[in-house]
């Protein structure tokens, strides 16, 4: 029995000496960032590199210069329909040398060749455009029964999937005295920076939460939680592509709140070949409203 015990302990020690799942080491990666918005002009492209976790991060210091960058409009068979060349406007930031409008329901490709001949590519399909068909009130009383309702035409996508929305409320007069009670508490009593709420985002909301009206439109209710400031606000409904969807949902998990155990971290889903980052697109529709304080 003693021998069996010794054998088991020895075998255990042997197993643990052979650690086949080792921590790997840092590797530097190229980082791209660019977003196409339907009916807007061609966006800028950022190109930089990652830094090790223990180092200070600064975009200017990691910016990548002298890269050859193009955005290409693709046909359905992925052949190139048009090419828009880019030039460096400042370290790590490139802008289009031609003026062109981004088309909805169109495939685009980002193509980068760095000075050391490294290639980075990514593809995005711009979601279908949509517009608000109902007339919003000029003024809404905060937390009244009369909620902001936006009725829009649907947005189509290449795979016929449901639309992924993100609602943003952009405060046009973001002063401290204009903060709504919940956000005022966050800023004044919980040391959150007021700038965090200048643009308040709902996070990703599936179209499946809403019923389609008989005429095919969708009515979206804006929750009062989205309103961080009284006075003028720009309320935008955004329909995002798969790249932005993958990026944002996996970035949210990195910051916590999912069922993953604390300390268990997974890389973000980048959908970039030859690098990391996000080359995404979306369609948007914006309305302006004024939020008044309740009378009491």
């Amino acid at each position: 029995m003693k021998r069996i015990l010794i054998l088991f302990v020895f075998a255990s020690l042997l197993f643990t000496a052979c650690n086949l799942y080792r921590q790997d080491s840092y590797q530097e990666d190229y980082v791209v960032e660019s977003y196409l918005v339907a009916n807007a002009g061609l966006p800028k492209v950022r190109l930089s590199k990652t830094v090790p976790i223990q180092k200070k991060y600064n975009f200017q210091q990691t910016a990548v210069s002298k890269a050859s960058i193009e955005i290409r409009k693709l046909n359905a068979d992925s052949s190139v329909a048009e090419t828009y060349p880019y030039a460096q406007s400042s370290p790590g930031i490139y802008t289009s040398v031609v003026a062109a409008k981004v088309q909805a329901q169109q495939l685009y490709q980002l193509h980068i060749t760095t000075a050391d001949d490294h290639q980075i590519t990514a593809t995005t399909y711009v979601p279908g455009d949509f517009k608000t068909v109902n007339k919003l009130q000029d003024r809404y009383i905060y937390q009244s029964d009369n909620q902001i309702k936006i009725t829009t035409t649907p947005s189509e996508y290449i795979t016929n999937r449901q639309t992924y929305y993100i609602f943003t409320v952009n405060a046009l007069r973001p002063k401290t005295e204009n903060l709504t009670p919940f956000y005022k508490d966050l800023v004044e009593n919980n040391d959150n920076a007021i700038e965090n709420y200048y643009v308040n985002s709902s996070g990703i909301i599936n179209e499946g939460n809403y019923d389609r009206n008989a005429d095919g439109t969708i009515t979206l209710d804006l929750p009062w939680l989205a309103i961080a400031f009284y006075d003028s606000n720009a309320v935008t409904a955004n329909a995002i592509d798969d790249n932005m969807y993958d990026f944002l949902r996996s970035q949210n998990v990195q910051t916590g709140g999912s069922t993953l155990s604390p300390g268990e971290i997974q890389n973000i889903r980048y959908n970039i070949n030859g690098g990391i980052g996000v080359f995404g697109s979306m369609a948007s529709d914006t309305n302006r409203v004024v939020i008044s304080r309740p009378s009491n």
Binding site: M1, L5, F8, S12, T16, Y21, Q23, D24, S25, Y26, Q27, E33, S34, K44, R46, T50, V51, P52, I53, K56, Y57, F59, T62, Q143, Q147, I166, T168, F182, D185, N189, N196, Y198, V199, N200, S201, I204, N206, G208, N209, P223, L225, L248, R249, S250, Q251, V253, T259, S261, P262, G263, E264, I265, Q266, N267, R269, I276, G277, V278, M282, S284
Partner: protein
């Protein structure tokens, strides 16, 4: 042909003659003071190799006894040895109900027992924990069944804040939890800090860590069966305990032909919360948990017993988290079971049970007049029957069925509108057959088969089981087991907080998870009053289905698409050494274990577009050592100590960082961590020492009283729960989130 017929006739006559000549004894073994049945009590015929043990109803049967005079010996730990001389005639079926007397402890006493009698007939992978130990070991704030189980080798905890059971590499949902034969779906109080099982109400706790028999099914890993007390059949008695976190009281007594038991427990945090609210904002405005256990038993006649058992528990929280924002959570379980125990004959015993179980969970948030509500209910109604048939002493045949209806109703509403909703009604059924076959004095083979059916998806799964035991000598049992296990349910939970637990089922396109288990072990009695067990296991896990943690919103998605499907495996070795005699008693457990998981689109190489890789989940600890000791200083004073040392849990160490500056829907930069292999790093080792002191006395002559003073984490080691990387700092700052500091607790118990 004629010769064959004659031969067969001769054999038949011989068998019948033998059957007519042999005798049998059967009956219940109970506690003479309370009438409580004793589970796994040993019974043997002195100076023979014949023996058995009582089943979960406290019933035994010993057949194929040649006529003659014997000394029946019955033993059970903590009770005096029972001896009675009996004479059996040919064909006699003697009903012998045995009453054992509790043994008053005397210091330095060594109990001498015969080789056969002191053997505990435990199956492979089975561990038992005594309720007295549960109440004695120092635990955070109050005695807890699950935290005591976490002391056993092979059973791990996620953190000091969690009572969840991570057994042999499995997550908590891989363990079936039965209270009086009824499934409990969220067995936690205080959001996972404690279990729902009141130690005052519990009679028997046994854990099949792996390789569990065909009688059970529905989970990949383990089975935990808990039986509440029946109640004192002789006299009224009660107990009350006052503690820092919660207080409890239990009462039991006889009925004309039976007994009853009631136990109640409630948190007593209100005064503490009121004091804290005076100087802190982030304190709940109200919180409590409450549970009740009850049982009524009716002994209709020696061959028929009826029982009705119930449990009801709730946790309720009201927490204003900020101005114009509050959280409310209300969750709990209710179970009801009714059992008819019937002895058909000395060879056939049956337990028929009707069960009902409900789990409910109603979290709600209201932030800036934007409400979010969830209604989550599980209803599980079933009927089951377990039959034991002993045709002779070589075979112990068990068979039975379990069938029921499982309804899972989940509805989320956001801002007054229904969003995600799911209503699943499944019918489930299983049937099993097993034979514990004594091949010889030294070999026992137990083949079994279990057939499982699940209506959602029309699944039929066959799970074979096999175990083999060899006894080369009286004090050594070598065991091996194989089993296939199927699981139709999965749990969405968070290791830190079980207040939002949701169960989902297999369905079309969502096949059940399954796996194989291989276990080998040796159970020995190296010296009188000692036990040494060694087990090694390997488990495979296939089709692990769980909700995709990367889905921000499930609305509009087909049921299949809300899941991710993966696989896993686990292997390890456990050593358990126990001393049961003398002033110093206790056990030491060592576990070496490895567990891994793999899911698509997770833990893939960042740029290489390679496949997903296996990774260790956070609760994977390679080495785990536990020491539990009790020392009886005198008849009044005793002290207990629990020491745990374990190598670090797995975590992911970020390697790099970057940021997105222009994300159109965000007003701030979006920081990103770059990682390599998920969970490839290890936290520092965990160690903790808990001490307890107990003083017994009396309370003004009314009854026995007991003070318990405990110090949790006696040397205040600040073990690390996880690391948080704050990217608002540049460079990023790593902050350790720590577990419990030193915590003294005190409680007072009165038994009357």
């Amino acid at each position: 042909m004629k010769k064959l017929s004659l031969l067969l006739l001769f054999v038949l006559i011989h068998l019948c003659s033998f059957a007519q000549e042999s005798a049998s004894i059967n009956g219940y073994i109970t506690n003479v003071k309370t009438g409580e049945t004793l589970i796994s009590a040993n019974l043997a015929l002195k100076d023979t190799r014949k023996g058995t043990s009582t089943n979960t109803s406290g019933y035994y049967s010993l057949t194929d006894i040649p006529p003659g005079t014997y000394t029946v010996v019955a033993t059970y730990i903590g009770f005096k040895r029972f001896e009675k001389e009996i004479t059996l005639t040919a064909g006699q079926k003697l009903r012998l109900d045995i009453k054992l007397t509790p043994q008053e402890y005397q210091l330095d006493e060594v109990v001498v027992e015969s080789e056969k009698e002191k053997e505990e007939q435990r199956n492979i992978g089975l561990a038992q924990i005594k309720t007295e130990l549960i109440k004695k070991v120092p635990t955070v704030f109050q005695a807890d069944v699950f935290r005591s189980l976490q002391l056993l080798p092979g059973v791990k905890s996620a953190s000091d804040f969690s009572s969840g059971l991570y057994i042999r590499g499995g997550s908590p949902d891989q363990t079936l939890i039965l209270l009086d034969r009824t499934t409990v779906y969220n067995p936690t109080h205080f959001f996972g800090f404690f279990s729902t099982f009141n130690p005052d109400a519990v009679k028997d706790v046994r854990l099949y860590k792996g390789g569990y028999p065909a009688k059970y099914g529905g989970r990949l890993g383990s089975v935990l069966t808990i039986y509440n007390k029946d109640g004192n059949r002789k006299e009224f008695q009660g107990s009350a305990t006052l503690g820092l976190l919660a207080s409890r009281a239990s009462f039991e007594g006889p009925l004309k032909k039976g007994s009853w038991m009631m136990a109640i427990r409630r948190s007593t945090l209100e005064p503490l919360l009121a004091v804290l609210r005076q100087s802190n904002d982030n304190i709940p405005s109200s919180f409590y948990f409450l549970d009740m256990n009850g049982k009524v038993n009716y002994d209709a006649d020696p061959n028929n017993k009826l029982s009705l058992a119930f449990y009801s528990g709730v946790d309720d929280l009201n927490f204003p988290i900020a101005e114009d924002a509050d959280i409310k959570i209300n969750y709990g379980n209710q179970t009801l079971s009714s059992t008819w125990t019937h002895i058909f004959s000395e060879k056939v015993f049956s337990n028929f049970t009707v069960t009902g179980s409900r789990y409910f969970n109603f979290p709600s948030f209201n932030i800036a007049s934007t409400p979010f509500n969830r209604s989550n209910n599980i209803y599980d109604f079933s009927a089951k029957d377990d039959i034991e048939y002993l045709p002779n002493n070589n075979h112990e045949i068990s068979t039975g069925f379990w069938m029921g209806s499982l309804t899972l109703k989940l509805q989320d509403t956001f801002d007054g509108k229904d969003t995600f909703g799911s209503r699943i009604k499944s019918l489930y059924g299983s049937w099993y057959l097993q034979d514990k076959w004594n091949l010889s004095d030294r070999w026992i083979l137990t083949p079994g088969i279990r057939l499982n059916a699940f209506s959602e998806g029309n699944y039929f799964k066959l799970d074979p089981r096999l175990s083999l035991e060899y006894r080369p000598a009286d004090r050594i049992r070598l065991q091996a087991a194989y089993g296939r296990y199927t699981q139709f349910l999965t749990l969405i939970s968070n290791e830190a907080f079980t207040g939002f637990d949701v169960w989902l089922t297999a369905d079309d396109g969502v096949p059940p998870a399954y796996g194989n288990q291989y276990v080998i072990g040796a159970k020995t009695i190296p010296w009188e009053g000692y036990g040494l067990d060694i087990e090694a296991y390997y488990r495979s896990m296939k089709n692990l289905f769980e909700p995709d943690p990367f889905l921000p919103d499930q609305a509009g998605l087909p049921y299949r698409d809300i899941f991710r499907f993966g696989s896993g495996y686990a292997y390890g070795t456990e050593i358990y050494f126990e001393r049961r005699v003398g002033r110093l008693t206790g056990f030491a457990g060592y576990t070496f274990s490895v567990t891994r998981r793999k899911f698509p689109n997770f833990n893939e190489p960042l740029l290489a577009n390679g496949p997903a890789r296996f990774y260790p989940p956070k609760y994977d600890r390679t080495h785990d050592l536990k020491l539990v000791l009790e020392y009886k200083l005198s008849s009044r004073w005793s002290t207990t100590a629990v020491f745990n040392y374990a190598t670090g849990q797995a975590y992911t160490k970020p390697l790099g960082r970057t940021a997105a500056f222009d994300f159109p829907t965000s007003g701030t930069n979006l920081d990103q961590l770059i990682v390599g292999r998920v969970n490839a790093s290890r936290l520092p080792p965990y160690n903790r020492l808990d001490l307890g002191f107990t003083r017994k006395g009396t309370f003004f002559g009314i009854g026995q009283a007991k003070w318990q003073f405990q110090i949790i984490n006696a040397y205040s080691r600040r073990n690390i729960w996880f690391y948080n990387y704050d990217l608002d700092n540049n460079p990023a700052k790593r902050k350790a989130v720590k577990l419990l500091p030193i915590l003294p607790t005190i409680s007072y118990t009165l038994d009357f």
